[in-house]
Amino acid sequence: MSTRITVLYFASLRDVAGIDHETFDTNAPDLRVLYIELRARHGFPLPVEKLRVAVDGEFARWDDAPRDRSEIAFIPPVSGG
């Protein structure tokens, strides 16, 4: 059974994807595989090693499974300050 998720894109990821979020069903077993699939689909230059991942507004682990109805964000290297 697939899992319905919303993915948020920020900064260069949003520019490359051309959208700031998308909602879809995924069969990815974990967040790492999810990003690898999305990287292939959108052509993101950043490899998974450069990113952090967050679920529902909190940092998460790459080997967490996507939860149904969750909001997932891939966090490129930050540059505030």
């Binding site: 948020l8 540059s79 505030g80 300050g81």
Partner: protein
Amino acid sequence: MNRFALSDTPFDVATLRAGLLDARVGGYASFEGWVRDHNAGRAVTGLRYEAYVALAQAEGERVLGQACERFDILDARCVHRTGELAIGELAVWVGVSAAHRDAAFAACRWIIDEVKQRVPIWKHETYAQGGADWLHPE
């Protein structure tokens, strides 16, 4: 109580500073980051900060809470701008109150370093020579 805030409009440092002062304070250290007219050798005409607001708020709050545990300080606050900023505009402010200056300086430095490393805010620079870039430091 919130110690960390995002602001999409210019904010007043004097008011924020006043919120940190009380009779126990002997030392107050602050840091402000301003939009420079150059970065890494390129002339900059303006910039934009974008945040993942929910996570930035939570992570910023964690940074400030950790600073209050790690250092012998009375209180600490940080505000970070989002949106379009012109040259010379205030991008980030950190204020720390303490009985003594050692802790005030150390905590202030630690907070700005942690905010820059951990809080999901991104800078988008526009260059005088043309072009624009998201900054994603190594």
